[in-house]
Symmetry: C2
Subunit: 467 residues, 2 copies
């Protein structure tokens, strides 16, 4: 049996705003320990699958960051990162990855996993996966179903029916019915009746999946099979926005579920982040520079600058460089409309952070005005920015650590710490770090327009050249 | 009758942290409208006193900012700003200013006022002052006593006794007793019994005050009379830390009080700031970029970046560039110990803001690291920094608006927008704005040490030269 795994890394949730942003979704954040959720997911899977058989589907915008994060925990999985040119929900993403695996190995048994969940009981997780694989070998599409501890209204539910007669670490049942997110009364009834939470995690044989796709979504199956490097972006954009549940799982007959209790959470709200963390004596969870006085049952999280509280109970405070959320802890699932209002006011506050990660490193906007912008730019060892040109702004660069190799209108030279240079408007220029330590420069942009879109790229290591 | 007024502008309260800091106390902040509290105080007094007769006592550290603020509302009062070399509570400050006035005009009738109170009923205020002046002419030390609306525990109380027979807009009573801040039961009894809040505002004749000082604090009186430019700092430092109440008002026999209802507040807590402001439909007070969802009875104040709230009631959030306070609104008087903890952790978070006001303009620290620091420096038209030198850091300057006149090792030159220069370690240098628009530069400091105390001043317009 050839075992494969697919990590779905496409979420761009707003539920953990202001920490999560469109360009920095929750799977790329360290919300549940030192590693990011994506890294925790990869590490968890590597207990059961070879890194070379681990595929990751993400959005083009996140490709470099996903590769960078995987490089730290599963370097052999980096080459199997698939970047979607646009988001089309889970079914096209899974179909694309399965098709690739199927071409190598039609008998592959594939597990599909979210990149942004927490699972504390690793043994139970592996038991469930192993059990599911047994049914998958028998051409079932198998779901992992979470045994509920409370009548949650934020998940879809699965009604299991008769147990299948396979012998694995855990039982496996046929699925009687999928149920949409219920209200609290129905949820209580479901919990009582032994329904399971739909985790969105699947196990199946590559050939089984392709056959089901052929039967129920023949147009997607056809397009996938004809996809080439040339027509890829166009083909992908033509796919319908379709979830794995709605597009396939709810339609097929051979559908099964493995009930598992593995201390799972989808970390779908700040309250669920609070629930996962160790509490202090006052039942608070604190992160960063926080001083709490007479404060209880609260999540106090500061990415930057100091947070001081007094006389609070059951409050969530999330502080970032450019936005702070203060919210009752029982209301953290309701921030969606708030985030939409913020987005309408200043889209960048929900889309990016002041620090933006690029394939070559990162930049942080320190201050922005009408006619100037100040950035700290960090270039990783061995990395370089594209050869580029700006029509409307000049740039002053001061090296504050490391050694910069600079090209300015065909002339290449190096600058050390405490040296500076000037890039005129319209000059072709490039910044490179040939050293072994990170390079940091302070850039002061001056001009009538200092927007990010005033850039012409001539040559780019990362395939981003536009001219 | 020669009328004078003294504004006491020495407070360095922590009760409105993080907006108020040691170097930016509450009287210098715009907490109750467009003007700062000091400016509102000066404007209020000018309805009854000539600007040339308005004296302001402040700390040396705040001198330039106080003068700058007064210049906008009472330019003739700027030359009568008295700067204490150290803080010695209210009695030495008042005695110093009264002595100066007394030398000009022993029959001066002087009102003493706090710089950081709010008074909405201007007519009632002037009536009280006018009434107090009548008793002051008859050698009384006269207090303004606020008619209480609630059993506040944060003020001292005054028990009035028989009414004096002067005829003014308001009655004036002898004082029977001063009472320290009471507990809530006692406070309720005091309110019931017609006691008044001690506002700390006094009216008296210059010669009366000097006579009382001679009688009850003869050592202070003696030192004040012998004070010269040469011995000033030393003499001032030798004064006891003594309040006007404790050192004089509670001791003298001819002490009177004018009861007044003038919509007064000492703005001594964030809740009192909340109480003064107009509320929106949800009974919130909001300042800055704030989005509130299902939030009621709250004070939401952001100086920088965005603040979003959901599901809150009765909460105070004060957000500044480097520190945020989140507090139950009924507990805002208890932040003192919290601020003390913050001070022990990082003193600068309670002492300065990221923007620091200097006599020539201001600077804002945009980022600070071990070996570099980035500042935006704004120089007012016509102003210049001291000629100075740094032993351990070099500086890169980029002009982003205005025109800079720069001296670097005896050579003077100008830089326009989008031009830059480099100041080596140990070079004597100066930055000046000879233009009519503000000058803004970005400064990148590089060196093994980038602390503010690495400075040798050679020549300074503002008398700060140290070498």
């Amino acid at each position: 049996m050839k075992r494969y795994a697919i990590i779905l890394c496409g979420g761009s949730g707003t539920r953990l705003w202001p920490l999560s942003r469109t360009l920095r979704p929750k799977q790329l954040l360290a919300l549940n320990g030192e590693q990011t959720l994506l890294q925790q997911t990869a590490s968890r899977l590597l207990a059961h699958v070879a890194a070379t058989n681990l595929f990751t589907v993400t959005h083009e915008d996140h490709k470099f960051e996903v590769k960078g994060q995987l490089a730290e925990v599963a370097p052999e999985a980096v080459e199997n990162v698939l970047a979607e040119p646009c988001s089309r929900n889970t079914l096209p993403a899974i179909a694309w990855a399965v098709n690739k695996i199927n071409q190598q190995e039609p008998n592959a048994i594939i597990g599909v996993f979210a990149s942004d969940h927490a699972i504390d009981n690793q043994q139970a997780f592996v038991d469930a996966w192993t059990t599911a694989e047994i049914a998958a070998k028998n051409d079932y599409l198998v779901l992992l179903g979470i045994k509920p501890h409370e009548p949650a209204t934020g998940y879809g539910y699965i009604k299991p029916s008769q147990q299948l007669s396979y012998s694995g670490p855990l039982p496996v049942h046929q699925v009687a019915q999928f149920v949409e997110k219920p209200n609290v009364e129905k949820a209580a009834q479901f919990v009582h009746d032994g329904y399971l939470w739909n985790s969105g995690m699947f196990v199946f044989k590559a050939s089984t999946f392709m056959g089901m796709l052929q039967q129920y979504q023949p147009e997607i199956a056809k397009q996938i099979s004809k996809m080439t490097a040339e027509n890829f972006a166009e083909t992908y954009a033509s796919f319908p926005n379709l979830s794995m549940d709605y597009g396939l799982a709810e339609k097929v007959e051979k559908i099964a579920v493995v009930p598992v209790d593995m201390a799972w959470s989808d970390l779908g709200s700040w309250d669920s982040i609070y629930q996962r963390h160790q509490k202090d004596a006052d039942n608070n969870v604190m992160h960063g520079e926080v001083f709490a006085q007479d404060t209880t049952n609260s999540l106090l999280w500061s990415q930057t600058s100091l947070l001081a509280t007094a006389g609070l109970d059951n409050i969530v405070v999330i502080q970032t460089a450019d936005a702070t959320l203060v919210c009752d802890r029982s209301r953290t699932e309701e921030i969606k409309t708030l985030v939409a209002r913020v987005n309408a006011f200043k889209p960048e506050l929900t889309e990016i952070h002041q620090t933006v990660y690029r394939p070559w490193g990162s930049y942080t906007v320190l201050e922005e005005s009408v006619n100037f912008k100040i950035k700290r730019i960090v270039v990783n060892p061995g990395a370089k920015l594209s050869m580029q040109m700006h029509k409307l702004r000049a740039e002053h660069w001061v090296v504050v650590s490391g050694v910069a190799t600079i090209t300015n209108n065909e002339i290449e030279f190096t600058l050390n710490e405490n040296q500076s240079t000037y890039i005129s408007k319209t000059h072709r220029h490039r910044l490179e770090n040939k050293g072994t330590e990170p390079l940091a420069i302070i850039e002061v942009q001056c001009g009538d327009y200092v927007g990010e879109d005033d850039i012409v790229r001539f040559d780019d290591t990362y395939g981003r050249a536009t001219a």
